[in-house]
Amino acid sequence: MYKSGYVINDPNNHDFQVNRRALVEQSVLDDEMEFIFEKCWIYVGHESEVKNVGDFQTRSICGRPVILCRDAASKVRVYLNACRHRAALVCRETSGNAKGFMCFYHGWSFNINGELDGVPGKSSYPPSFDQSKLNLAEPAHVDSYKGFVFVSFNPKASSLEDYLAGAKEYIDLIVDQSPSGSMEVIEGTQEYDMKANWKLLVENSFDDYHLLTTHSTWLNYMKRSGVEIKRPEKGHLMPSHGIGKALGNGHAVIDNVNFRGRPVAKWIPIYGEAAKPEIEKIRTELFERLGEERATRVADTNRNLVVFPNLVLNDGSSVTIRTFHPQAPDLMKVRAWALGPVEESAEARGIRLDSFLTFYGPGGFATPDDVEALESVQKGMATFKEIPWSVMSRGMAKEGEQLNTDELHLRAFWLQWLELMSKKDEAQ
C-alpha cells in the first residue's frame, strides 16, 4: 500500500508527488519506527563528546534512552540505558564522568564496560541466575566514521561505511577543515521541539528553493553588513551556482558555491576587520595542506548534507550537526551542535561560534523562520483529505545537472523512504 498510495514517481511524465498522509498519520510513524529507524544506521553522537575514559552522554535515540560513553579500554560504547533487572534508567544525568552506572532502584551496578558487577542479595537468586548474561545491553551495531558515532538496531545492517555510501565524500570535506582530521563538538547544545513531521525538516535542511522568501530578512542582514549578494544567473534563483545530488541509500546533498562568510575560510565584514588575518591564516594553511583544487572545495563551497534518515550536517555559515527524532506525526525533538577543528585558535573558535548565530539555531536570523514554515506546513496538512498531494517535481524535465533549487535531492530521500516502507507491503 505504501508503493501505491504514498508516493507518485513517474519520470516519463515528469511527475513526482508525496501524499500528505505520510506526514500526518500515526500508523505511518509506527511503520517508520519499524522499517526505517530500526533498520538504518542512526547518529548518536560524536567521539569528542566522550574524550576521556568514563566520560558519558545520555541521549534518546529512536525513542530509546541510551548512554554514549568511553569504556576502560578507551573504546566508544553505546549502552541501552535500562537496568537488566527492572529496566529503570541506570544513568539519569545528561553528561559527566563515571566509573560505572548504578541503578538506584534495587542497587544493581554496572562498570564502565557495561558489565554487571554488583547484585545486592545475590544469594537469594536460584543457581540458574547467570550474572554474566545481564550486562548492559547494546544496539546490534555500533560504529563510527571520522568521529561520528552511529548505531543500528538491525542485526542484518550492512557496514556503516557501505551504508554511508556517497555521503562519506561530503563528511570528508567537513573533516578536512582540521589539519589533523580531528573535529570536535563544541560545548552548548541547542535542543528544541518543532511541531512538525520530522520529514519536513529533512526536506527543509537542504531545500534552497525556500531561501529567498523564507529567509529574506537574513539576506537583508547579509547585504546591509556588506556581503555582496549577486543577481542570480539565468535559470537560477540563488546568488551563486549550486547543485543538488543524490548520494545513494537516500543520502543527498546540495553543493553550493559560497556567497556568504565561512569560518574556514571566507572573511565577511560581520567578522570584523580584526578577524581578517586569522581567516587568511586558516586559508593559507588549507591551501598548503590540501592543494588548490581541494582547498577551494573545502573553503569556497557550502554543503547541506542529509544522512538518511535523520542526520543533517550543514557546512555554511558554520558547521552544525543537527539530528531529530519524531515524538508524534506532528512533533519532533531537534538537537543541534557546533563542530570545529580541535586545533582551532581561540580567535577562530570565536568567529566560528559567532558566524553560526548569524543564521542557525532558535535565536538565529534564519532558523526561526524555518521552524515557523514547517509548523505552518503541518497546520495546513490538516486539509490532507481534500488536498492529498504535494508536488515535488522541480528539475524533473531537465537533462543533466540539477540545481540546489530543484528537488532531485528531496526526491532521493523520499524514494529511499518509499523503498524501506514498502518492505511492510512485502511483509503482508
Binding site: 552548548g188 535542543e191 529574506s216 542582514y221 557546533a338 561560534l353 539555531g361 536570523f365 526561526p368
Partner: protein, 171 residues
C-alpha cells in the same frame, strides 16, 4: 571621594527601569528599547546546557553585540521575520531584583551588576502558550538622570529549550 558624593542607587530605581524595559518589549516599541542600550552593549541567551559558559567558547542561542541587536530589531520589524509575524503577544513578569555589585566610576557614573527573575508568556494565534522562565544577569550604567544596559544575559532555567521552541522575540 566620600560616600555622600556617590549616586543614590536603590533597588526601587532599578526595578522601575526593568519594568519600563519590560513594557517597551511587550509593546514591541523596539526603537525606544534600543535607546536604553549602552554603546558596548551585549545581549546573550546561552544554550540551556551551558548557562555558565562564555559565548566565545560555547555555542549560545543568542550572542549579540550592539550592532547585531540593532540588526535583530530591523529584522523583527520586517513582516518577513515570519517567526514573529504577526508579532507574538508577550507578557513579562520581573521579580526578585537584587543588586549584586556596584562599581563607582566617578561621582556621577556607576556600574551595577544585578540579577532578576523573569517569567515571560508568549501567545500566538493557533498555538500553545509558551512560557519562558529564567534569570537576567545584567550590568547597568547608571547616572543621576539615566540608566543604560551594558550587558544583558537571559538564562533559561529549563534543561532544554524544548516546547519553548524558539527565542525569536527578545527575551
Amino acid at each position: 571621594m566620600t560616600n555622600n558624593n556617590l549616586l543614590n542607587i536603590s533597588r526601587e530605581r532599578i526595578e522601575d527601569f526593568l519594568f519600563l524595559e519590560a513594557a517597551l518589549l511587550d509593546e514591541w516599541r523596539l526603537d525606544d528599547w534600543l535607546l536604553l542600550l549602552a554603546e558596548n552593549f551585549t545581549y546573550q541567551v546561552p544554550s540551556n546546557d551551558a548557562p555558565g559558559s562564555i559565548a566565545a567558547k560555547a555555542l549560545f542561542m543568542i550572542a549579540d553585540d550592539k550592532k547585531r541587536t540593532e540588526e535583530r530589531v530591523v529584522r523583527l520589524k520586517d513582516r518577513n521575520a515570519h517567526a514573529e509575524f504577526p508579532h507574538s503577544r508577550t507578557r513579562r513578569f520581573i521579580s526578585n531584583v537584587r543588586i549584586l555589585e556596584r562599581t563607582d566610576i566617578d561621582s556621577t557614573h556607576s556600574k551595577v551588576k544585578i540579577q532578576a527573575n523573569f517569567t515571560i508568556h508568549r501567545f500566538r494565534r493557533n498555538d500553545d502558550i509558551r512560557t519562558f522562565v529564567g534569570q537576567y544577569h545584567n550590568e547597568l550604567l547608571i547616572t543621576e538622570q539615566s540608566i543604560h544596559i551594558i550587558h544583558r544575559k537571559a538564562i533559561l532555567d529549563a534543561y532544554e529549550l524544548g516546547s519553548m521552541g524558539l527565542v525569536s522575540f527578545i527575551l
